[in-house]
Amino acid sequence: MNYTNYNMGPYNLHIIKNDDFKAINIKVNFKSKLDKNDITARNLLRLYLVNNTKLYPTERLMNVASEELYDLGYGSQGLVSGNFSIISFYVNFLNNKYTEEDNLEKSIDFLCEILFNPNVERKKFENKNFNIVKESLKNTIESKKENPRQYALDRLLEEMDKKSNYAINPNGYLADLDKLTEKDLYKTYEKMLTKDIVDIFVIGDVSANEIKELISKKFLINTIKKPVCTHFIDHDKFRSRVKTVKEEQDISQSKLYIGCKVDKLDLFQKQYVANIYSFILGGGPDSKLFQSVREKNSLCYYVSSSFKPICNLLIITSGIDKKDYKKAVGLIKKEIKSMMNGDFSQEDIDKAVATYINSCEAIYDSEVSILNNYVTAEYLGFDLMEERIKKIKTVTKDMIVEFAKKIHIDTIYLLQGGDQNEQEDLQ
């Protein structure tokens, strides 16, 4: 594997040459300072751009064209990442060795068609598709309660701090969506091309020179920008009393979500100590939470914790019967406390380290995972796989206890089911 980074002025080009894969993946990231007011427009934009183009004026024709390219996969993502909004466009396709000679160039053309040849007339996006994509997004936002786990997480983050960047929903907001016009969307598009920081990541069995040449010929981006703020969110206010929020929905399993704020951390703590901590607390079937809440007390099917390094948050999630709410919260708090007291062994640490190393090794088997590892290295200054495997071994018990003491339980959120009356399933 060989990594090359080219500063092309208006954008950075990252090429990871790797002979182990039969496919090539390309991801183009547009990064801008997070602003709640334009998140809806940015999300609609990325959905629109992969829906149709000038050359392929309907979604069906886009799909036909991608299938002609040996079923090239394509899509877009909208992320709220700390203090940034990142929208990504990606394609993955078979290497020329398995197709016709020019599949690489044609696939890059397809990506460029998405980015640089949208269905625009007189600085306005075409109306019919605009409405289709807009209505579809509207339906997505309106249906957010249909996924209780995601909904509970969104609501927890909102309740923790409505004004924070981490509470911003990457899907956007109905009130903003209703107001958006074809003209507004074009302005958002222009702004994305001229103001966002652009990174292009390419991975596969490729020649770096060939890729560099193709991209520089075809990528029509030419304004130079610099990052304006830090990626990470730190917390300066902590609650003296834990906030509790309960909300009702007609579901059979209640969702218990607990959000914790964490004091300012250095990069080593974020990448390594927090990881080991969260693994021991609630990382898998062998963790303290799983053993206590599920195995010993049979209160749930799933319970886990995860640390969000960009927002400095620790989130604990579980699905329970609402009658067990108090008991479950008590057990979870007890385990959080036991971590502070150093009530875990070197063996627990060793298991977490071994699992971490294995998951680093597994990254090598997936092009998308390798690519994402380079993305976090670029944006967050995180280490690459090899370095990670070395450094994780240096985490000590003292470091974990020190980290545990930085955790402040902030909000307990319960999405509780209505009556427990279920007739339909009695077949």
């Binding site: 209505e135 309106e142 007609d250 019967d321 294995n358």
Partner: protein, 427 residues
């Protein structure tokens, strides 16, 4: 040890059936870092009545027993949790139950010998007590609750139930609240002793391994254990009628947009000119062409804003039937169900579409050959679906012919179907 090759994919499959009947398949993928190992029994939710080994009379077991058994195999006499063991070695372990099989698995790049020995040992040493069976009921009931809140899963299981009259695919994999609480230690042992004999099981290992060594380790492990002689397992046969059992069902849930499933029961008993591989794949191609992302149907429905998202598709095969489910989100479920039925019944197929879909299949076969999980899953599903591994997908796909597809579809009836609608509560 036999060696065969996946044609055109550059992968070899080494296999051997041991004296006790256990089949082993190993695919070395030496440019990968990780190893994925699975052991499966051909026992899933589709079996609920059979003659227990050593007995003479058919026994009906409670629904959900295969899944319950999967949970309980993680219980060990020495009290050590298998998850703890795998975690110490940095491996990820899990298990899953489908209608057709139950699979126990791990993935990990280190300590393969220890891991595979442990996998075989814990699966082959059951330890069920009244107490540990009782403890699991609350956990599994929470798992059931979680699925109950998922409208698509509800619709999927509900549609399958309505398609059949007697076949056990009628019942939820996880069971019902009543059946879960009915299950006893004795039920588990009866199922275990009948279906977990090595001759009813198979091991698949993919990734960075030496095949001779893998087979040697497994052989040594099995030689140390004693199993009763192989016996033929007698499972209840169902004379499943051609007709669906329920034509239409509607339920309410706390959702925003109505959900619809249109499901077909396709009789394939009189298609003597075709192999099962052909029948299965031609039918899938047909539904993809008619309702997939490049269909005119989807394009029109999105334009008219009857749907916002693409359709979902599921396939099952029981006895002489192929069961197909088409899933949609729509505000006009009645109208949409009529439109879908009409489209499926008109049987007109565009030849160009068919040729392009073949290209997609070949591409996905090549892509999958890069991934240790995909290859392992392919082998498992081939064994379950076709009784053996399909080595020549590449040729088989290339040999599919439009005229044969056309003729096959014209000879099928799509008249046996059922509609499942979920309406937003209170709307």
């Amino acid at each position: 040890m036999n060696k065969k090759t996946f044609n055109k994919l550059g992968l070899d499959v080494y296999s051997e059936t041991l004296d006790n009947g256990l089949s082993i398949y190993v695919v070395p993928m030496l440019n990968k870092h990780n190893i994925y190992a699975t052991i499966s029994t051909k026992f899933g939710a589709n079996v609920n009545e059979f003659v227990p080994i050593g007995e003479k009379k058919m026994k009906r077991v409670p629904d959900g027993v295969a899944h319950f058994l999967e949970h309980k195999l993680f219980e060990q006499k020495d009290g050590v949790d298998p998850f703890t063991f795998f975690s110490q070695n940095g491996a990820d372990a899990n298990a899953n139950t489908s209608y057709y099989k139950t699979t126990y698995l791990f993935s990990g790049s280190e300590k393969f010998k220890e891991n595979i020995n442990y996998l075989l040992d814990y699966v082959q040493e059951p330890y069920f007590t009244d107490e540990n069976v009782e403890k699991e009921k609350g956990i599994i009931d929470q798992e059931r609750s979680m699925y109950q809140d998922d409208p698509y899963w509800r619709m999927y299981e509900g549609s399958l139930a309505n398609l059949v009259n007697e076949h056990p695919i009628k019942y939820p994999i996880v069971g019902t609240k009543e059946s879960i609480y009915e299950i006893t230690k004795e039920d588990l042992y009866v199922c275990y002793n009948t279906f977990y004999h090595p001759s009813n099981m198979f091991v698949v290992v993919t990734g960075n391994v030496n095949p001779e060594e893998v087979i040697k380790i497994i052989k040594e492990n099995q030689n140390k254990k004693k199993f009763p002689n192989k016996q033929k397992i007698e499972i209840k046969k169902y004379n499943e009628k051609k007709e669906v059992s329920v034509k239409k069902q509607e339920i309410d849930m706390d959702i925003n947009t109505n959900k619809l499933a249109v499901s077909y029961k396709i009789d394939i008993s009189n298609l003597n000119d075709y192999t099962f591989y052909e029948i299965y794949n031609y039918i899938l191609y047909y539904f993809d062409i008619k309702t997939g992302v490049t269909s005119k149907l989807v394009e029109n429905l999105k334009e008219e804003q009857i749907i916002y998202e693409d359709f979902g598709l599921a396939v099952n095969n029981i006895d002489n039937y192929i069961l197909i489910n088409i899933f949609a989100e729509t505000k006009e479920p009645e109208k949409l169900s009529e439109i879908i039925k009409q489209e499926i019944n008109n049987k007109l197929i565009d030849k160009e579409e068919f040729e392009r879909k073949k290209k997609c299949s070949i591409s996905s076969t090549i892509m999958a050959s890069d991934n240790i999980y995909h290859i392992n899953n392919k082998i498992m599903s081939n064994i379950i679906k076709y009784g053996d591994i399909v080595y020549n997908d590449y040729e088989l796909i290339n040999n599919l012919e439009f005229s044969k597809l056309d003729k096959l579809i014209k000879s099928l009836s799509f008249n046996e179907n059922t509609i499942y609608i979920i309406n937003p509560k209170g709307k």
